[in-house]
Symmetry: C2
Subunit: 391 residues, 2 copies
């Protein structure tokens, strides 16, 4: 099969705000080859990712992503790796390229799975797709009473685990943060898994981050996620020495498998969290999962958007039975739910798993998407380089 077209669809809620909710827009990718189509989704800013797809050539190491994809043969997983390496080499100096390519790579796996009539996780070498225990992902409330309510809601919805993130944590004192952690634990009950995500708020300040460890230990927090920025390997490693039984978690900012491997090897995280929409797709994420297994670190997906992205993010560790926790978008905007007709709903054990259906196993809800479609036009020297395509 030859790749005939790469279409990018920028979708958005009518109103987008500065809240820390990544489900307010999306960049859906459609690939056509051999009479089939595959779908994927890029995480992060749609417009810059579109620009990286279609931009004029700057020089040999700064080519638009589409120049390494269109016309390529795609018959086997090795073709996906080959195209991936071609993009990395020919777009070496185009930083956004890997975010752009991540959605394309997912779509190529989806298409390849459909052509071979197998789910993607089988193409990755797994024999079985094991059930994962999803955690409910929400933001800390502005005061502990709201956090308490959200924790209760997570239990009422049947979740055994909940992650609280961002909000006021790190902005005030350590004792204010303690009250938040305690409210989350009270709402969740003593038997629920409690996870904390501080969204890089401590920058590179190991001392300030370590002042939160005691309060986390008191309420039995499972992991302390993203204390620092994505490149702070030494600070992660330093905090890990002081974090006692609280394991560090991170990796969502990784845009190369080596970045995530370094967070394991040098940053000493206990949980490595990968967003397939940023790291270059499913193949690079699988490399991280393999590395996590050899290092005794637990792999977890990072997903805050659609169930298409959720299916993609489960594939790299679908066959790893012991790596059981998964992120599950708790309160996504309607856009994120409307992207697919099918959804990965909780089963009777309150678990989900990567679908058995071919490819990523998700049906796109094209009719529903028209109302979210953003009309984009990019012209350079009088020539149209991008216009929102038809579904």
């Amino acid at each position: 099969m030859r790749i005939e077209s790469v279409d990018f669809f920028y979708l958005s809620m009518p109103q987008v705000t500065t809240e820390a909710d990544g489900s307010q827009d999306a960049l859906l990718v459609r690939i056509a080859a051999g009479g089939l189509v595959g779908y994927g989704e890029c995480e992060a800013a749609p417009l810059p990712s579109i620009a990286a797809l279609v931009c004029p050539l700057s020089h040999g190491s700064c080519q638009p992503v589409q120049d390494s994809v269109l016309g390529q043969n795609i018959n086997n997983p090795s073709d996906i790796r080959r195209i991936s390496q071609l993009v990395a080499y020919q777009s070496m100096d185009l930083l956004q390229a890997v975010h752009t390519f991540s959605g394309i790579e997912m779509a190529l796996w989806d298409l390849l799975g459909k052509s071979k009539d197998v789910p993607v996780w089988k193409l990755l070498g797994y024999q079985e797709s094991f059930a994962k225990t999803p955690y409910f992902s929400v933001l800390f409330g502005d005061d502990p009473a709201i956090t308490f309510q959200r924790a209760k809601e997570a239990r009422q919805k049947g979740f055994q685990a909940a992650k609280f993130g961002w909000g006021p944590i790190g902005l005030g004192s350590a004792s204010e943060d303690r009250e938040q952690f305690q409210a989350a634990r009270e709402g969740l009950g003593n038997d629920g898994l409690l996870l904390v995500d501080t969204g890089q708020i401590f920058g590179e300040d190991v001392e300030k981050a370590s002042q939160r460890i005691g309060a986390m230990e008191e309420v039995n927090v499972l992991w302390f996620e993203e204390p620092f920025h994505a490149h702070a390997l030494q600070e992660y490693g330093e905090l890990a020495k002081r974090s006692g039984k609280i394991k560090l978690a991170g990796g969502e900012g990784a845009h190369h498998p080596s970045m995530a491997k370094h967070l394991i090897d040098f940053g000493k995280v206990g949980y490595v969290q990968i967003d397939c929409g940023r790291i270059g797709g499913i193949g690079p994420a699988k490399l991280v999962a393999d590395h996590a297994v050899t290092k005794g670190v637990t792999y977890v997906n990072h997903t805050f958007t659609s169930h298409l992205a959720l299916s993609a993010s489960l594939q790299p560790y679908a066959g790893l039975k012991a790596h059981e926790i998964c992120e599950y978008p708790g309160q996504p905007k309607s856009l994120a739910l409307d992207i697919t007709k099918s959804h990965l709903a909780l089963d009777q054990n309150r678990q989900i798993k990567a679908p058995e259906a071919p490819g990523l196993g998700m049906e796109i809800n094209l009719e529903a998407l028209n109302s979210y479609l953003v009309d984009v036009s990019i012209e350079v020297n009088g020539q149209n380089l991008y216009k929102t395509p038809e579904f």
Copy 2:
């Protein structure tokens, strides 16, 4: 002073090819505040960097770069650091943001220097701008005879050092590469400094890269640059153990100061090469220079474009006398030379240094740029987000 405007000008040669020459286009940045203007330059793909400046908000951690810059106060170096941190935090999930901001950050230093009537290197804390020995930077020829000619040309032009890069190196056998290294040495003479840049061609293949070490030792190569991709810390470290007296060099792909520090600490490079147009500007580059000094590693600029970018790239290590080598664009396209009226020409000792004039000390040649100006228009849902501004 308040930042009133941020203008991006996409400039390009009429023809852009896939040769490994980064001077074929440019993204010039103009900042206005307090009745003054400052100029900077972003390295890498102009269109995606423009998109990252003006894109619609995706969520709180994925904001367009301009939202963290416009309206900010700029009176002291600490303001530049503050704005830099704001961009990093508010555009955390927008990968291209740091390339976009790099040119803005340079322009802020230029403007601040002009407002205080001092060169940027003084604002960075240096007392003196020391002379640097530029190396002539060219590509390996398709056969050794061309490489030999280019090496002779470097000496005829008065350069004491020459770097040969890319071309056929790594694509054929190690013995073919040996012939290239020997041709470069013969053309350069025994007293010239010979540098080799392999442009990431060995990916993560330490074995293949190490097969080139012997031939480099035979002709006394000073450094072996970019054997691997920008995130291959462990591979750099492994090769460094086997490279004998040949020092490794790398860092141009660093888009965060921690990335460059890790290349020193884990990758064991002997030379760290920073592009101020990618790493976030002059301030982050200065952090790397400080780290290099403490670790006994030599700092070198990475510059392949204009003399505005060259002045910016010299500032972070202008005051480091012992860090004497600098990259000097050897055969840039006319665009790169036409961006400035003034140029950093070689003095009677065949050296250059960061200017004594205020700011970056370079005068922009606005009249000459009209013929290179690329007309760009970006529309989203009927609203124009970017249109090429007037000079």
